[in-house]
């Protein structure tokens, strides 16, 4: 279990300081947990703190009882961690098998027979067994991501952190990747950080929305949808007319009778033909972002 209390992270000092995280409180249990937020929300900082790479400015974080603010705690957490960073750098002159093998050695898998068996297992799991002996430099972006997840899994981690894992993947690879993460979440904590709402909706029972370093929402996707009910409409307008600026256009569709807008906002006063619509997770996210200047209490 991950317990985060009053977590802050400030980069720089004086006038140039930036608050990446501002009083984050979270409790994350076993299973798949989604962290959603726009670019620059503080997701990567939070992931790096949980991976023991970045030190928090204040607050406490415990992972399975280990205090991540101490060197001993960091060492213990790193020993049970699988980590796939957003910007995945690799030794591209190595083959996929060699790279995963090397990461296994760095993670402490000393027995060469067991290690080689485990390396083969994880490469099979991510569908790279056939190309295991090929150098990484010849791989596509999706294949490199899969090598990344294989190295994260090689030590059978109790906590798996994946930061923006589906960025740059084609739809088929994204689906395969999401399914793999869901399978892995059966017996460990899997933390999925992303700005792609669909990835969370398809995989997580539990999620948090982070914006400007603060948690805006914490709950299930269903609770997020419930909180958005009554704030989503469809409206068809003809000619060059457009919805007013208080309403956010989530999507638009050109029809024979005009343009159909899907709108999120507090109300649709002045638009008598607006039809209330069942919200989707993307609508919920947009509604949260609209209200991100003030803390929104939901669940």
């Amino acid at each position: 279990m991950i317990e985060i209390t009053g977590l802050t992270k400030t980069y720089g000092s004086g006038n140039k300081s930036v608050n990446a995280l501002n009083g984050v409180d979270l409790q994350i249990n076993s299973g798949m947990f989604g962290l959603l937020g726009p670019n620059g929300a503080g997701k990567t900082t939070l992931m790096r703190i949980l991976a023991g790479i970045v030190n928090p400015s204040s607050g406490s974080i415990r992972v399975n009882g280990h205090d991540l603010t101490t060197e001993a705690g960091k060492h213990a957490v790193k020993s049970m961690l699988g980590y796939l960073p957003q910007e995945l750098g690799m030794y591209t002159e190595l083959t996929a098998e060699q790279f995963v093998d090397y990461m296994a050695i760095l993670k402490g898998l000393d027995d060469s027979r067991k290690r080689s068996q485990r390396v083969a297992e994880v490469l099979e799991m991510v569908g790279l067994r056939e190309v295991a002996k090929r150098k990484i430099k010849g791989f596509s972006g999706g294949m490199k991501r899969r090598v990344g997840i294989a190295q994260a899994l090689v030590n059978d981690p109790k906590m798996l952190i994946v930061d923006e894992p589906t960025a740059g993947l084609d739809p088929e690879e994204r689906i395969r990747f999401r399914n793999l993460l869901v399978n892995l979440a059966a017996d460990r904590i899997v933390l999925l950080s992303t700005h792609i709402v669909e990835d969370i909706g398809q995989t997580c029972r539990d999620l948090a929305v982070l914006a400007k370093g603060k948690i805006l929402f914490r709950g299930s996707p269903a609770e997020m949808l419930k909180a958005t009910e009554g704030h989503v409409w469809t409206l068809t307008m003809s000619g060059l007319e457009k919805p007013n600026h208080d309403l956010t256009v989530v999507s638009m569709l050109h029809l024979a009778e005009g343009t159909q807008y899907r709108l999120v906002g507090a109300n649709v006063n002045g638009y008598s033909n607006a039809q209330p619509t069942q919200p989707g997770l993307e609508d919920g996210y947009v509604w949260l972002m609209k209200n991100s200047n003030q803390q929104v209490e939901f669940a």
Binding site: I53, V54, L81, P85
Partner: protein
């Protein structure tokens, strides 16, 4: 748990960091063969082992830790800061050592007389001490500034200043920080104190580098 592999340390080592010292080695060998003068050969040999080898070592050390494409993944593993530090700097020292020893053997083979540098221990210390000093300085500079360029700039600056004012450095208290004393002033009465001081300074640089390496967020 050893968390270390010689095979992968070598496989992930940047090849240009191997060609660079080898190219310098070959250049000095060719220069010696072309000039083919007994007195000049000695000067070329000591310029290579005591001045060029430390400079190359320092430059390479500045890039040793931070110029790692998988640095974030490495930081997320439970390997200790000391391992990250010594895995890379030791390899650079070994490469420079092989180059220096190979050049000494080549020089001896063509008849260069190294007796002016003292006994065989002093001959070895004349390249070991400055090379360790420059490697420690390069590593420390890069880690302190969290940029490889800062480490190599610091190495270049110290190296060139000391080469220019070498005579002045030998006669006042700067003699303890005089990196090239063993090769350029081997008869100096304070040579041993100088070498001990440089070893101590190198140890201090490496210690502070180790401390700074715990702040991993500075380097990603």
């Amino acid at each position: 748990m050893k968390r270390f592999s010689v095979k992968y340390t070598l496989l992930t080592y940047r090849l240009d960091q191997l060609w660079f010292p080898l190219a310098f080695w070959a250049f000095f060998v060719i220069l010696t063969l072309l000039l083919n003068d007994q007195e000049l050969n000695f000067n070329i040999a000591r310029a290579y082992i005591g001045v060029a080898v430390p400079l190359i070592g320092g430059f390479m050390a500045a890039y040793a830790i931070l110029d790692d494409p998988a640095i974030e993944l490495r930081f997320a593993t439970p390997i200790r800061a000391a391992q990250i530090l010594f895995e890379r700097t030791l390899l650079i020292f070994l490469i420079q050592g092989v180059c220096a020893l190979a050049f000494i053997l080549f020089a001896l083979f063509i008849g260069v007389d190294f007796s002016a540098l003292g006994d065989s221990l002093n001959l070895q210390l004349s390249w070991i001490v400055p090379t360790i000093s420059m490697i420690a300085l390069g590593t420390f500079g890069a880690i302190l500034g969290a940029q490889t360029m800062i480490g190599s700039f610091l190495v270049g600056l110290v190296w060139i200043i000391e080469v220019i004012i070498r005579d002045a450095m030998a006669v006042n208290n700067w003699k303890y920080a005089y990196i090239f004393m063993g090769i350029l002033n081997p008869e100096h009465p304070d040579l041993v104190s100088n070498q001990l001081a440089l070893f101590a300074a190198s140890a201090a640089f490496l210690f502070f580098t180790w401390l700074l390496l715990h702040k991993q967020e500075r380097y990603i």
